[in-house]
């Protein structure tokens, strides 16, 4: 898949934002007033900023409201609803904390749940796609949720939880990669099934249907070199998990925490880039690997 910057930014930051909101909703840390305001500001900046970034790749962002209509079948539509509800609940909850010094616990729990649900709906947009075997697995929501939670914990300053969750996220990510590498082959979809020509013999793409490019090639047929991707995987795990965990092991100070967050965010961005760049859409089979 084409790693579109807007989508990478959206999934990364909205994941972090909703992760943070989850912790805030759970009262971790218990904050009020200015501190609460700052934390909520960061969470909203990430979550809403991410959502806004996601509209950049739309052909018609001005019609975005129409996306709320199809919650019965569409995970994208459900994501819209979930995020709006989550943000609304958390806004009310946050207002209580910031302005009234009140913590409405149940509202917080509801907001936290909706925040996680938002991350889950986002993940389901990818998970549901049978066309991308690498994503079509229960590990994908686990991965999104574990990232959101780890990042949320980190942002929320929950050092111990963060260390644990970061390690979990790291393990989940590695598992996702390991499964992912064999996913296309395991899916049973091959050029032979795509063309129905397997009965004749070995099938090979010959001429592409056009020497010019098109939307499909630009969007779906992105090939990352294997060595390149291995390197990036190592980098992303280092930045996302190893460095933050190491930093968190050190005596706490705000600079170190900021560095841990920064490293984590960079690591997630790289992992997210890989998430898209490595994803093989089955339509690529039709084009073989023979396009320029």
């Amino acid at each position: 898949m084409h790693p579109a910057p807007s989508v990478i930014i959206f999934t990364t930051f909205s994941g972090l934002g909703f992760g943070l909101l989850t912790f805030l909703g759970l009262g971790l840390p218990e904050v009020t007033g200015m501190t609460a305001f700052l934390l909520f500001a960061v969470a909203y900046l990430f979550a809403v900023g991410g959502l806004i970034a996601s509209t950049f790749h739309l052909g018609h962002p001005e019609r975005a409201l129409k996306a709320f209509t199809q919650w019965r079948t569409s995970w994208l539509s459900r994501e819209g609803w979930a995020s709006v509800i989550a943000l609304a609940l958390m806004a009310l909850y946050g207002a209580g904390l910031v302005f009234l010094g009140q913590r409405w616990v149940l509202l917080g729990y509801a907001g936290a749940l909706m925040s996680l649900l938002t991350v889950f709906t986002t993940s389901m947009i990818y998970t549901q796609l049978k066309t991308i075997p690498r994503w079509h697995t229960a590990l994908t929501p686990v991965r999104f949720l574990s990232f959101a939670l780890a990042g949320g914990a980190l942002l929320a300053g929950q050092v111990k939880t963060a260390i644990l969750l970061l390690l979990v996220a790291g393990v989940v990510q590695v598992a996702h990669w390991m499964r992912g590498d064999g996913a296309l082959a395991a899916s049973g979809t091959t050029l032979a099934s795509a063309t129905g020509l397997g009965r004749i013999g070995d099938v090979r793409a010959f001429e592409p249907p056009h020497t010019g490019s098109n939307y499909l090639l630009e969007e779906f047929v992105h090939v990352v070199g294997r060595r390149h991707s291995q390197k990036l995987r190592v980098i992303s795990i280092l930045l996302m998990v190893a460095v933050p965990v190491a930093l968190l092991m050190l005596p706490f100070n705000h600079l170190i925490a900021a560095l841990a967050v920064l490293s984590h965010v960079l690591g997630v961005l790289v992992a997210r880039w890989l998430f898209f760049a490595e994803a093989e859409h089955v339509v690529g089979l039709y084009y073989g690997k023979r396009h320029a």
Binding site: H210, T211, G212, R290, A292
Partner: protein
């Protein structure tokens, strides 16, 4: 809640109006419905009523709107201001342009008409352009046939009075086995596809003989991946097997071919000539009387294996000579298999299958007909095997004989002009004798003494001057290529540059991209076009006038540009005098008419010729008082008569439009054509529709249509006597003698019975891989590239390389390879292909473009990753050390031997930093700029 969905307008208005005309995205001439919205072309689809395409349309035809509106269209006449080849021009008025042209041509006509060389490309108005040239008085006129497929056309006409495509077609309704040789696309573009579709729908079989298995050959049930250049051998081997097993149509051979004609066997000036009676009619031995009689005498039943001793001379039948030759083990499958790359068992299996379908699946149509000997036949016997072939066999230097061999194969199976076989389209069949002979009689200030092109029947017809030197600039009809019926357009520039046989003053060309894809030796030709005489500083070819509609590579090399319209903006006439749109069942012709008016200062080229003709005072173009005779081409189409009652169009003749074929001029003729969808069809009556060369009903119908002046039944020429006459000259007989260096070659190649010989391989040592091109179905030569839709399909062209050679040369997809011939080398990207003869590489034809042409940006993939094989094909063969440079063409017809190219391949030395093919010629300046950055094409609302 019920299921809800938007309401869609399923009956929108399609267009304001439909205008029906003829496509010219290629020369197939399909009928099109041009849908108009707000006076603009909105959508083009096929015309269901049209005899050629019956509603279907190919990719090119469907993209006409993109060609009609292409940014590459020339906008006004232009005069060269920079050096030749630079592309620097100034737009001028038509008056100025026509005055310049007149001032160049008038003096030539008065003193040296031959100093004008007028050559037209894939022109569909050859009866008109040749008429103009004849009126001008130059012998130097031809169209593109010499570099295209004259081998096919000439071999067909000499053998049976017509070849494939516009000459005839398989009987698609009845054929059960269709065998295709060397065709990727052809001009019978839609009809072949429709035909294959119909055959397939019936579950009948297609055999494809082609080194490359793509397109038609990909759907063929059987693929014969033959070694290029060996089809003749393969076919003669099929003939061997069929003859040897007696699976041939003896009755057909005896009745309709010259197989029973008697051939003089005595040494001397008559050897190999047919025995004739006092009227010149070939003699056969009648089976009943045992006496020699003219072949066409009523009631004669010719004997196939007679011997006649007369005046101490033995005469044997043509069939006897054939048996003696083709039964020889030389042609046994086992002897040819290796050279052809086809296993012997497969050759035998194909022969058996041909025989099985031709004879065991024979059928009868209950149609009574009477032959030229007066015998009435109760029914027509169908032999459902049919063939088609094109440039794969004709564009080799042994192509004429190979095409002949194929025709002989069809004839011995008795499948020509019978149900299920191959059928002619009017005005064919038309034997070689019925065509004119070439004329070169020049008189300053007067027309030429007759048509330029035609068919020679012996040395006396050659176009030679008194001193024996060639009369034509292209050396057509000379000892080098005696039967060059279409001229040799591909030799014009190099001959004119060399001043051999003489110098010319003005080269006038129309619709041929002669500095690029239609020429061999591109770099050399560009040099010849720009070369100056060191003494005078003048260009060696002093003046070049060119008519193109688009900003092609050739435009840059002209001094004066006469911009043509697009095909939707002009009148054209696809005439029975020329290359009509007939079907086997019908005579038909067609027009184009301006469905839209040009929005630029351009004019239809034929109208420009009409104007020029009048300015030059050419007799057929002015009235007695010197005033112009025709207003424009439309006026000419309607009012010109070649002979009384016969004009360019056959439909709606007579004052009231009630006559067909022959009739007075009808001033409203074009309106009738337009009402009828741009074409006219006259059906051949049932019973006249097969056996045309021998069927009295057909012959009478053709006379009525104005196709012939009198019935002229004839025999198929398995043995082509005119070829023997050239051999006799080479043996030293007669007064017109070939030059010494050509004697042996004439003896070797001008055999009156089909032979196969290996093409000249001198200088090819080490170059052993065959390199071919194929036409992409969705592109037309160079002119498809300006089309925004088509160029997305074919914007660059890899060299397709068989798996074995990929491995040997260490190549993988996308690598750059150096491909060399004895003439030069190119560096190009490669791609592996498995369904390919293992010693052949190929690429799509004419995708590569010169930077600056066609209104494309200079970094267009066509100009960086597209390439031509033409860069490494030379018009001359490598030197043999005899001091002569022999032409890279067929020794019989002069046909350009594009497909004789032999190369070697190696991985390019500098693969990493390379981003462009080699050679990269410097850009030319675009006279029209480049196109827009985005298209959202929608007209009307």
């Amino acid at each position: 809640m019920g299921y809800q969905q938007p309401v869609v307008d399923t009956s929108p208005k399609v267009s304001d109006e439909v205008r029906k005309t003829t496509c010219y995205m290629c020369a197939c001439r399909c009928g099109i419905n041009v849908h108009m919205k707000d006076g603009k072309v909105a959508y083009i689809e096929g015309n269901r009523d049209h005899p050629v395409n019956r509603g279907v349309l190919c990719a090119k035809g469907s993209s006409g709107i993109m060609q009609h509106n292409a940014p590459s269209r020339l906008r006004a006449p232009m005069k060269r201001v920079g050096p030749r080849g630079s592309g620097e021009f100034e737009e001028i008025s038509w008056d100025e342009a026509l005055e310049i042209a007149t001032s160049w041509l008038k003096p030539l006509r008065e003193k040296h008409p031959e100093k004008l060389a007028f050559f037209t490309g894939r022109d569909q108005s050859q009866s008109f352009t040749s008429f103009w040239a004849q009126n001008f008085g130059t012998p130097n006129y031809a169209a593109h046939g010499g570099f295209c497929s004259v081998n096919m056309a000439a071999a067909g006409i000499y053998t049976m009075g017509g070849a494939f495509w516009e000459f005839g077609q398989p009987d698609w309704d009845h054929t059960k086995l269709f065998m295709l040789f060397g065709v990727a696309e052809d001009h019978d573009s839609n009809p072949i596809k429709m035909g294959i579709g119909r055959i397939k729908a019936r579950g009948a079989k297609v055999i494809g003989v082609n080194p490359i298995r793509s397109g038609y050959n990909a759907v063929a049930d059987e693929w014969v991946g033959i070694t290029p250049g060996t089809d003749g051998l393969f076919i003669l081997s099929l003939i061997h097997v069929l003859m040897k097993s007696g699976r041939i149509d003896l009755d057909y051979l005896a009745r309709y071919t010259n197989a029973p004609c008697l051939v003089n066997a005595a040494e001397g000036p008559e050897k190999g000539l047919l025995l004739r009676d006092g009227d010149g009619k070939p003699l056969v031995i009648d089976r009943t009387s045992g006496k020699p009689v003219p072949f066409d005498q009523p009631g004669v039943r010719p004997r196939l294996n007679a011997t006649l001793e007369r005046d101490g001379t033995t005469h044997r039948t043509v069939f006897h000579l054939m048996a003696t030759r083709y039964l020889s083990e030389e042609f046994a499958p086992e002897s040819v298999a290796e050279r052809c790359g086809v296993p012997a068992e497969r050759i035998r299996a194909i022969a058996a299958e041909l025989a099985r379908v031709a004879f065991d699946e024979a059928f009868e149509l209950e149609r009574e007909w009477t032959d030229f000997r007066g015998e009435t036949h109760k029914s027509m016997i169908g032999r459902p095997v049919s063939f088609h072939a094109m440039r794969g066999i004709s564009a080799h230097a042994n192509g004429f004989q190979t095409c002949r061999a194929l025709h002989v194969l069809q004839i011995i199976l008795g499948t020509v002009e019978v149900p299920g076989g191959f059928r002619f389209k009017p005005p064919y069949p038309k034997p070689a004798e019925a065509h004119p002979r070439p004329h070169v009689g020049v008189t300053p200030g007067a027309p030429l003494d007759g048509p330029h092109l035609g068919f020679v029947h012996g040395p006396e017809d050659l176009a030679l001057k008194e001193d024996g030197s060639p009369a034509r600039i292209d050396k057509a009809f000379t000892w080098e290529n005696p039967m060059s019926s279409h001229g040799l357009m591909h030799m014009v520039i190099s001959n004119a540059h060399a001043g051999d046989p003489y110098r010319i003053d003005t080269l006038f060309m129309y619709m041929a991209n002669m500095s690029w894809n239609s020429t061999m030796n591109t770099a050399g030709v560009m040099e010849m076009l720009t070369d100056r005489d060191p003494e005078t500083g003048e260009y060696v070819i002093p003046r070049i006038i060119y008519s193109d509609a688009y900003s092609s590579e050739m435009v840059a090399y002209a001094d004066l540009i006469l911009p043509d319209t697009t095909y939707l903006e002009r009148h054209d006439c696809i005439s029975l005098l020329d290359r009509p749109i007939c079907e086997a069942d019908a005579a038909a012709d067609a027009i184009r008419w301006p469905v839209v008016e040009p929005d630029r200062d351009v004019r239809g080229f034929q109208s420009v010729l009409v104007d020029l003709g009048a300015r030059l005072g050419l007799p057929a173009f002015v009235n007695e008082d010197g005033s112009p005779k025709w207003r424009d081409y439309a006026d000419y189409i309607v009012n010109h008569e070649r002979k009384p009652g016969v004009g360019p169009l056959a439909g709606w003749r007579g004052k009231d439009g009630s006559k067909t074929g022959r009739g007075e001029v009808n001033p409203e003729q074009l309106d009738r054509y337009i009402e009828n969808g741009g074409f006219f069809v006259a059906h051949i009556p049932e019973g006249a529709d097969y056996y045309k060369p021998w069927n009295t009903a057909y012959q009478d119908w053709a006379v009525g249509m104005g196709l012939y002046d009198s019935p002229q039944p004839y025999l198929f020429q398995l043995y082509v006597e005119p070829m023997r006459r050239f051999q006799l000259a080479a043996e030293g007989h007669g007064t017109r003698q070939p030059p010494e260096h050509l004697r042996q070659r004439i003896l070797d190649t001008m055999d009156p019975l089909p032979i196969w010989y290996e093409t000249d391989q001198t200088g090819n040592e080490g170059f052993s891989i065959n390199a071919l091109t194929q036409r992409p179905m969705a592109m037309y030569h160079s002119w498809g590239t300006q089309n925004a839709w088509l160029r997305q399909l074919h914007g660059r062209n890899p060299l397709y390389v068989p798996t074995k050679i990929m491995r040997e040369a260490g190549l993988k997809d996308g690598d750059w390879a150096r491909v060399s011939s004895p003439h030069g080398s190119i560096v190009v990207p490669v791609m592996e292909m498995a369904a390919l003869n293992e010693n052949t590489v190929w690429t799509w034809n004419a995708i590569g473009k010169r930077k600056g042409a066609w209104a494309l940006t200079p970094d267009a993939p066509e100009a960086t990753k597209g390439f031509l094989l033409n860069h490494i094909i030379h018009e001359l063969l490598p030197p043999k050390g005899d001091g002569l440079r022999w032409a890279n063409s067929d020794p019989v017809t002069g046909q350009a031997a594009w497909f004789d190219l032999k190369v070697k391949i190696e991985k390019a030395a500098e693969p990493d930093e390379r981003s462009e093919c080699d050679p990269a010629f410097p850009p030319i300046k675009s006279p029209v700029g480049t196109g827009p950055k985005e298209l959202r094409w929608k007209v009307g609302k």
